[in-house]
């Protein structure tokens, strides 16, 4: 009798586990579940659909249908001359944003890395441009770049740097310049804040030790600051490279991709192919290629910065 009762309890228990299902999951898996299911559903599902779109092509018969075409769409993107132009544009924009932005941010962070009073106040002020919607910041800069009555042409002429108005949006290089300067302005608070925190975490006695060893300012920077700042610097580079490579709204608001297609980056082309040309399979393939490109660039940055060091880079 007692044996039977135990069996009965066991089977009840197993039924309960099976019915509820979830109770067989451990506590931590239960906590993971909503988030993982959500991301899988909203990002993973579309990601699969993206691959499907990439590998198929529309067939127009009586009804709209699709057929499997393998890598034809990817090949179509890679053999389109414009795609390589847009790739070049994207890399040029990214190089400009990093090449101007990172030294500026590093310089500001190094200069401010001292016991200045009212840190709370000026750090808040330094943060502000990044918190304004990018489009709004870009509109503010566009207003200043207007050739005929913009304040930038006025100041350049007044200071004697140029003699006549620059038609900022008509030339390829000047159009790039407007987009890059605006992006650097937007990203500077972000980069400076992260770098300042990184500098803050370097203990002072390391500088004292270096000084005792006879290291001047340059050597202190090279052998103390730079190696210990590497994680923060990597983070700043990776974040801004990612934002520049996927960049859309700053360039689109500032130049609209022009003059012509001179500043059309890949993200803008994907948008135009999808929405304006209705070429979703091409856009999907281009989107996949952009992901690969981003992975390659991030890989180069992380590898380049973590070489000859045992510091952990995240």
């Amino acid at each position: 009798m007692s044996v039977n009762l135990a069996n009965w309890k066991d089977s009840l228990q197993s039924i309960r586990t099976r019915v509820s299902g979830l109770s067989s999951l451990s506590f931590d898996k239960l906590l993971l579940l909503p988030s993982v299911v959500f991301i899988t559903l909203i990002i993973g599902g579309p990601a699969l659909f993206l691959i499907y779109l990439t590998l198929t092509q529309d067939v127009f018969s009586l009804f709209l249908d699709t057929r499997f075409v393998g890598f034809q769409n990817i090949a179509a993107v890679l053999t389109t001359g414009d795609f390589w132009l847009f790739t070049g544009n994207t890399l040029l924009y990214t190089a400009g944003v990093l090449g101007i932005g990172i030294p500026v941010q590093l310089g500001i962070a190094l200069a401010l890395n001292t016991d200045l009073p009212y840190r709370r106040v000026w750090q808040t002020l330094l943060l502000i441009p990044w918190t304004i919607p990018f489009v709004i910041s870009t509109v503010m800069w566009k207003l200043m770049f207007v050739p005929e009555f913009g304040v930038i042409n006025y100041l350049l002429i007044e200071s004697g740097l140029i003699e006549q108005q620059i038609q900022w949006f008509s030339g390829t290089w000047t159009a790039y310049f407007t987009a890059i300067i605006t992006t650097v302005w937007i990203m500077t608070p972000l980069g400076t804040t992260i770098l300042l925190a990184g500098l803050d975490s370097i203990p002072d006695d390391l500088y004292e030790a270096a000084y005792l060893d006879g290291a001047g300012i340059w050597n202190q920077f090279r052998h103390v600051t730079l190696p210990l700042l590497r994680p923060a610097l990597t983070a700043v580079l990776v974040i801004q490279a990612m934002l520049a490579l996927r960049g859309f709204e700053i360039i689109y608001t500032m130049t609209g991709g022009g003059p012509g297609t001179a500043t059309t980056v890949i993200a803008i082309d994907i948008y135009q192919e999808m929405i304006q040309n209705g070429n979703s399979h091409y856009a999907a393939a281009e989107g996949l290629i952009l992901v690969v490109m981003i992975l390659i660039v991030l890989g180069i940055i992380v590898k380049g910065l973590s070489s000859d060091t045992d510091l952990e880079v995240e």
Partner: protein, 292 residues
Amino acid sequence: MSNNTQNKDLSLWERINQDQALMNRLHRVVAVGVLILVLLWLFFPIFWALETALKTRAVTVQSPPVFWGFDVQWQNFIQVWTETALPTYIFNGLLIATVTTILSLLIGVPHAYAISMYQSRIGDASLLLVTVTRIIPPITILVPIYFIFSSLGLINTKIAIIIAQTAFLEPFAVWIVKGSFDGKSSSLIDSARTDGCTKFQAFYKIMVPVSLPGIMSAATITWLLSWTTFLSVFLLATGPKAQTVPVGVFALAQDTFTPWNLISAAAIIGAIPSLVLVSVFQKYIIRGLVEQ
């Protein structure tokens, strides 16, 4: 620079201290100079937009540009507020950002806790999922999302935008909150458990409160990123019903008939929520940016 040679009797430490004091003073002078220049550079565009917003249309297009002494036109702000859909954009933006933030924390905080405090293969895999989600550019994933939402009839609804933004921003929240939980000792859980808490109570009664600064960081950053998001709204919203401030200002600025004083007024109004948020929560934003 230093007078070492005259003071041979100075001990090494005093010399070092003297040198360092001089260096520090020099550094502070440089720092003040750089700070002033940087703040001028960062605030001039905002100042100029504010000035333009207060000019008449005729003054905005004058060359050379007018810096002061013009008739201040506060009614530009009223005009842009009453004659455009700006109030709707702001309402939509506030609603979308707030719901996105709540949803992201609701599912993101437990997720972060699970990967920070427990070791499991699924946890590691989920961290990879979070990282991949952050690397994929929104434009790529918006291609299929656009089609899926179109076929579900979700285009131009706030729900669609909230879903898309939560998917893009929740990984940020997970990352920031995880950083906060990582710094906490799991012995807190153990002592809560011996005091009779269930695992879940240990989570929400002990660990969430002690990690509140990190969670606040995640909340402010998620809110800000949602409020400033352009691309997903630009693609998924076709009218004022679901459009937010960045898209509204973009549309206003694209229309060549909109005078610059009104565009500027809209830009200034659109920037105000950010300014308020950053002045109140700057501590959390800086912390979140550093930990992201």
